[in-house]
């Protein structure tokens, strides 16, 4: 891919990179600095980029992720859940269905603020994984590549994150007796 085509592709992703930077940095100034640094590194490393099916977005997210954690001075080894957790751990008490089953009568329109707060309160590694999946539309394998973790880790983080969210939403819905509004 020539430089001009790469530049066009990369700059088209500015909104996505900035949005993710905002979610990671939680402040516009931090997000702006992260975005600038990400693009600076991306254009320096342009020769190493290979255009595959997913475009340039996951590659930019990977640079952003590494930049953020380097800036934050966090250890590279984040707390992770074993890859085989999903097959062996205990998701809920015996004979009780997982919380997600309780959401069938939830009116999603009424829980936006609650959901947003719940996402903001997720542990960083769950939140980033969830956002890459839900907001940025990345597939599990792409997320694994961005975060530098195993595919099973992505699955278990998402499972955990969704479990936390659905539990909170179900509690909230029960507390506020929220039921779906009839179709207009």
């Amino acid at each position: 891919m020539d430089s001009e085509a790469f530049r066009e592709l990369a700059l088209e992703e500015m909104d996505a990179v900035y949005r993710m930077a905002m979610h990671l940095g939680r402040h516009p100034d931090e997000a702006a600095e992260l975005t600038q640094e990400t693009y600076l590194k991306a254009f320096k490393a342009e020769g190493r980029f290979e255009l595959r099916d997913h475009g340039v977005r996951p590659w930019l997210f990977k640079i952003l992720h590494n930049t953020f954690y380097t800036r934050m001075g966090k250890r590279k080894r984040e707390p992770t859940i074993p890859d085989d957790w999903i097959h062996t751990a205990t998701p809920s008490p015996q004979d009780e269905p997982p919380p997600a089953w309780d959401l069938q009568h939830l009116d999603w329109e009424q829980v936006d603020d609650r959901l947003k707060n719940a996402i903001e309160e997720l542990p960083d590694h769950y939140r980033e994984t969830l956002l890459l999946w839900a907001v940025e539309g990345l597939k599990y394998r792409e997320i694994a590549d961005v975060l530098g973790v195993a595919l099973g880790t992505v699955m278990s983080r998402l499972y955990r994150a969704r479990g936390i969210l659905t539990t909170q939403l179900a509690d909230y819905a029960k507390e506020h007796r929220i039921t779906p509004s009839p179709p207009s």
Binding site: S3, E4, A5, R7, A10, L11, E12, M14, D15, Y18, R19, M22, H23, T35, Q36, Y39, F43, L51, D53, H54, G55, V56, I86, H87, T88, A89, T90, P91, Q94, D95, P97, P98, A100, W101, L103, Q104, D107, W108, E109, D112, L115, K116, I119, L130, L131, A134, V135, G137, K139, Y140, M155, L158, Y159, R162, L165, T166, P180, S181, P183, S184
Partner: protein, 285 residues
């Protein structure tokens, strides 16, 4: 932590399979196995639907205008990463003509390459209509993926914010949601054999968009997204835009601007997209 019971493991497996289905649909064998574990196909479908709704809701609440790249930063980044014009230093007169000729050759080549990148060559089933690239391969893939998911199950992603089940009632629903005056919106594709199947919120094109799904008797689907034009895409009225000409979605995705709205049309077949596009119209009140 106590050891997991067989029941725990069963639920964990169902959850994992159902969650993974929102990423990439399960094959028949995996679906049957998951359905058995879940206690039936209905329970499994419910789980998948809930996960899809959660995903949509997360996307909706976390993609606010405040998270858009500020114009100043956008301009700064664009300028910083735009190559400066070539500077001709002290060139000896005898070399000057050669340098100009080389520069002209590069310019002509660049124009040709950019033109080739931006112009979608009509395929065997397309007309001679010129389509300019406005979304990249990655974005096109997102539209395509969502079209595939909602086209096969329109109820999956609508977060309980259901629009009327009939096309007749859709106009008012769109007017409310899109905050526009759509007095005589024309969204009927029955002349092409496509019937309205449903509509709902969708964030694939950005916040505040609506996804309308059509299907025909052959099992093919057409997807139409509408969202208010916020000027992010520089679209000329009357011009049709598309994804890269060499991508898998070429001819199957068309984008255009009409009466303050941006419309994205995606189909299984390029000829159906081409025929459907002129049938769709938004007329102001």
């Amino acid at each position: 932590m106590p050891s997991p019971t067989p029941n725990d493991i069963r639920f964990a497996r169902v959850a994992a399979l159902a969650d993974a289905d929102t990423d990439a649909p399960m094959d028949v064998a995996a679906r049957e196995s998951a359905a058995a574990d879940a206690g039936g196909q209905e329970a499994l479908d419910q789980r998948i639907t809930e996960q899809n709704r959660l995903r949509e809701a997360c996307s909706r609440v976390m993609d606010s205008p405040a998270h858009r790249c500020p114009d100043a930063l956008r301009a700064q980044l664009t300028q910083a990463h735009t190559p400066p014009p070539a500077v001709i230093g002290r060139i000896m007169p005898s070399r000057w003509i050669g340098a100009v000729a080389a520069a002209a050759l590069i310019a002509v080549s660049t124009v040709a390459v950019v033109g080739a990148l931006k112009t979608l060559r009509p395929g065997p089933q397309a007309t001679s209509m010129s389509i300019v690239q406005v979304i990249n391969t990655d974005q096109a893939a997102r539209f395509d993926r969502r079209h595939e998911v909602c086209g096969s199950d329109p109820s999956a992603l609508f977060q309980n914010q259901l629009f009327p089940e009939t096309l007749a009632g859709l106009k008012n629903g769109l007017t409310d949601v899109l905050d526009g005056s759509l007095d005589s919106v024309q969204l009927d594709l029955s002349a092409l054999g496509y019937r309205y199947r449903g509509a709902g919120h969708c964030t694939v094109p950005g916040s505040g968009a609506v996804h309308v799904v059509y299907g025909n008797d052959q099992g093919q689907a057409l997807s139409l997204w509408l969202r208010p034009d916020d000027g992010r895409l520089d679209l000329a009225q009357g011009q049709v835009y598309g994804p890269p000409a060499d991508g898998p979605q070429a001819g199957r995705i068309m984008v255009w601007r009409e009466n303050g709205m941006v419309l994205y049309l995606v189909g299984d077949l390029s000829e159906d997209v081409e025929q459907a596009r002129p049938q769709l119209a938004l007329h102001p009140a």
